[in-house]
């Protein structure tokens, strides 16, 4: 509440400063070339001097004030009878500050109720100090900025330098995100590997995650069945569906379809890629899975399960079709026209040209596209969560229920549990494996595509 108020006031001061500085600069104008920068740039320069330091001060205050508030509360006589035991005291303090913010809430601990009034007073006092500091900085910055409005001052250059800094910071967010992913995954995985050896994790075949730490923990965290389930669903079943359908769709669209047909069919195919995965998951669980089960029963399987690798894999494959199709489309289009013309001129039919010339020439690109498709399929979550099942087993029977890495991550991290149990930590280890594998697939695929493009350029 007070935060928004402070920001609004600072912004208001900034706007006022903008007009003041522009007015001053306009008054300095005496003719062509008398000012080094247009008056509005002086305004922007002033606005930056008011807003940026004030917001920085407010942010820094937000970082250090909780510690100061805590110290002040503990120094208050009302806090004297608090238990000395840290955890208990923290719980009461947290409740008191909750009460201070929301007076209607019911107090769980009577001591917190008494403290609430004190806490509110102290918190308000410190927020006021912060607001005053921010306002002071805004005025100081503004005063400094105002003295800089002179005829010869290069306000535009300064403002543009600030603009470039902002652009630079924005582009560094991408690196920060990547670093954040790597650091958080590696850190939590490191904690996990303190209790379970990486070798047990990567080669064990028994998966039964549980809480509690003991020497036998490694025996229950063997992730091989998860890797197998992931590969079987994402790289085998889904690809058996997606590669032929996607490839033939691409061939038909690029080689046989008329311009009008292509104009309608291609966007229609793209719709498949735009449907949210949760919808596919629901469809797989509700419609495809019962069909698969009935089919399995008709084939003579004994009580086939409702959740099957086949249902999840087929639906996932359909989801990937447009992706495979557009990758194949690109790589077929990249084959030089001369090769196609040469084949046709020798009397080969269109399909012979496609099968003997175009597809072999486009093969590296298609393989790279398939690798990207696999990396998508193994990272796909909702379809397997809703249709593949939770049983970790090593089986090559597509009618069995099977589990995947992504399913287990969801399973391990939803629900209420403490954050440092081996169960939760193992989810991050699985996440790291997933991240490394998809990254490797992508890097290799992009390299193949690049090399292959150069070969024909």
């Amino acid at each position: 509440m007070i935060s928004q108020f402070v920001l609004l006031v600072v912004l208001g001061l900034g706007v006022a400063g903008w007009f003041a500085a522009r007015a001053k600069a306009q008054a300095l104008y005496t003719g062509r070339g008398s000012l080094a920068a247009v008056p509005s740039y002086h305004g922007w320069h002033m606005l930056l001097w008011i807003v940026v330091p004030a917001v920085l001060v407010w942010a820094v205050w937000g970082g250090i004030s909780p510690g100061l508030v805590r110290g002040a509360i503990l120094a208050d006589p009302a806090a004297a009878q608090l238990p000395a035991f840290d955890m208990e005291r923290d719980a009461i303090l947290a409740e008191a500050s909750q009460l201070a913010r929301n007076p209607d809430a019911a107090a769980f601990n009577p001591m917190a109720q008494q403290l609430a009034e004190v806490v509110r007073g102290i918190e308000t006092r410190f927020a006021m100090i912060g607001a005053a500091l921010a306002a002071l900085t805004a005025f100081a910055g503004g005063a400094f900025g105002y003295t800089r409005v002179k005829a010869g001052f290069p306000a535009r250059t300064r403002v543009e330098r600030a603009t470039l800094m902002t652009l630079l910071v924005a582009s560094l967010i991408a690196i920060l995100t990547t670093a954040g992913i790597v650091i958080s995954l590696v850190y939590e995985t490191g904690l996990f590997f303190r209790h379970v050896s990486p070798i047990d994790f990567l080669t064990g075949t028994h998966w039964a995650p549980r809480t509690g730490f003991d020497a036998e923990l490694g025996k229950d965290f063997g992730a091989v069945p998860l890797f197998w389930g992931t590969l079987f669903i994402g790289a085998v079943i889904a690809m058996i569906v997606a590669i032929p359908l996607g490839l033939m769709s691409a061939v038909f669209l690029t080689q046989y379809a008329s311009a009008t047909m292509r104009k309608w069919l291609k966007p229609a195919l793209e719709i498949l890629a735009g449907i949210p995965t949760v919808v596919y998951g629901y469809f797989a669980a509700l419609t495809v899975a019962p069909l698969v089960r009935d089919f399995a029963a008709a084939m003579g399987a004994e009580n086939p399960s409702t959740e099957s690798a086949l249902a999840a894999g087929v639906v996932m494959g359909v989801m990937i079709i447009p992706f495979v199709s557009s990758m194949a489309d690109d790589s077929i289009a990249a084959v030089p026209q001369a090769m196609r013309d040469g084949s046709l001129a020798m009397g080969a039919t269109k399909s012979e040209t496609i099968k003997r010339v175009l597809l072999p020439a486009a093969l590296p690109g298609i393989v790279a596209g398939v690798m990207l498709a696999v990396s998508r399929a193994i990272g796909e979550t909702m379809i397997v969560v809703m249709a593949a099942g939770a049983a970790a087993r090593l089986s090559a029977n597509p009618f069995d229920s099977m589990t995947t890495v992504t399913f287990q991550i969801v399973q391990l991290l939803t629900g209420d549990q403490e954050f440092d149990s081996p169960k939760t930590l193992s989810a991050f280890a699985l996440g790291l494996v997933l991240f490394v594998v998809t990254l490797a697939l992508n890097i290799v695929a992009l390299r193949v595509v690049k090399k292959y493009r150069e070969a024909y350029d």
């Binding site: 603009t163 949760v278 509700l286 979550t381 992504t406 996440g431 990254l439």
Partner: protein
């Protein structure tokens, strides 16, 4: 010795065989694309048949409930709107600014610029659930932001959407011909002025198209939000971005888990609402592209 004249019966048979193979191959292509589209039609038809009856005013304005007959989709829709608001407010400015920097101002051939480019391309291919793990580890466990809130959900999705906006933004900026830039510079504009006053406005339709497509993807995303706990049972629409909330795909997921058969209709109805929204967004993107696309 085969008679090699093209009128010889052997040659005729051979030709017929080759032409038959040609027709078979073409039919195979048609079958492939028809199969894919039939699957799509089957999916849409199933959802419409199950869900169309469940869409009425009460469903569109109600919130989640344990009773399937009064449960509605508005609570989740409002959560989606708030989350998308946060995502857009973060990823659009950051994405556009990063695209401008990388395309116009970044020093060429520097090591760290390459790192930025590589990480943007890789982030666009990282599975969405990994972003959820990042959000859980950083936003919730380190920064202690409120769990299940549109704020955390929006921030997580913004990290996921930003690479999409950067990539489409760079392509749109690249498509603006250098003559525009040169003309601005020639009449005395500074490089920053040339970019912000002339190049960026011309690239904006392309950037917007990419942004809408990225937002549509974020709107349908479930897995990362599952990680940060946005599966709260929300009986009243969230009031602000720090309240516990659910989003539309999450509502679909939660309802699909209900044992009560009456929720099947609700789930399908919510799917119809979500698909209509997504198609409207994609339609808008296509409209913008067709309307403002300039061939230079």
């Amino acid at each position: 010795m085969i008679n090699s004249s093209w009128q010889a019966p052997e040659m005729q048979r051979r030709l017929a065989r080759r032409h038959a193979a040609e027709r078979r191959f073409k039919a195979l292509g048609l079958v492939a694309i028809a199969t894919s589209l039939l699957f799509l039609a089957f999916l849409l038809f199933t959802m419409l048949r199950q869900g169309l009856g469940g869409i009425d005013w009460a469903f569109l304005t109600g919130s989640d409930s344990t009773d399937a007959t009064v449960a509605g989709v508005w609570g989740a829709a409002k959560g989606s709107i708030l989350t998308m608001g946060v995502t857009l407010a973060l990823s659009f400015p950051l994405g556009v600014l990063a695209a401008v920097y990388l395309e116009e101002f970044a020093p060429k051939g520097r090591r760290w610029v390459e790192w930025v480019e590589v990480s943007i391309n890789n982030l666009a291919a990282v599975p969405s659930i990994i972003f959820g793990l990042l959000g859980l580890a950083v936003f919730i466990n380190v920064m202690h932001l409120p769990r299940s809130s549109p704020l955390v959900g929006g921030m997580t999705l913004a990290l996921m959407t930003m690479p999409v906006i950067v990539i489409s933004g760079r392509n749109a900026i690249k498509a603006v011909p250098p003559s525009i830039r040169d003309a601005a510079l020639a009449v005395g504009a500074s490089p920053v002025q040339a970019v912000f006053h002339h190049v960026l406005p011309l690239a904006l339709p392309g950037i917007l198209t990419g942004t809408i497509i990225g937002m549509a993807r974020a709107l349908g995303e479930t897995a990362p939000l599952l990680m940060i706990g946005m599966r709260a049972f929300v009986a009243t629409p969230p009031g602000g971005i720090t309240d516990p909330a659910s989003v539309m795909p999450m509502q679909i997921f939660l309802w699909s888990d209900e044992i009560d058969q009456a929720f099947v209709q609700n789930t399908s109805a919510a799917i119809i609402v979500l698909l209509v929204l997504l198609m409207a967004m994609n339609g808008l993107a296509i409209y913008l592209r067709n309307k403002f696309e300039t061939r230079w």
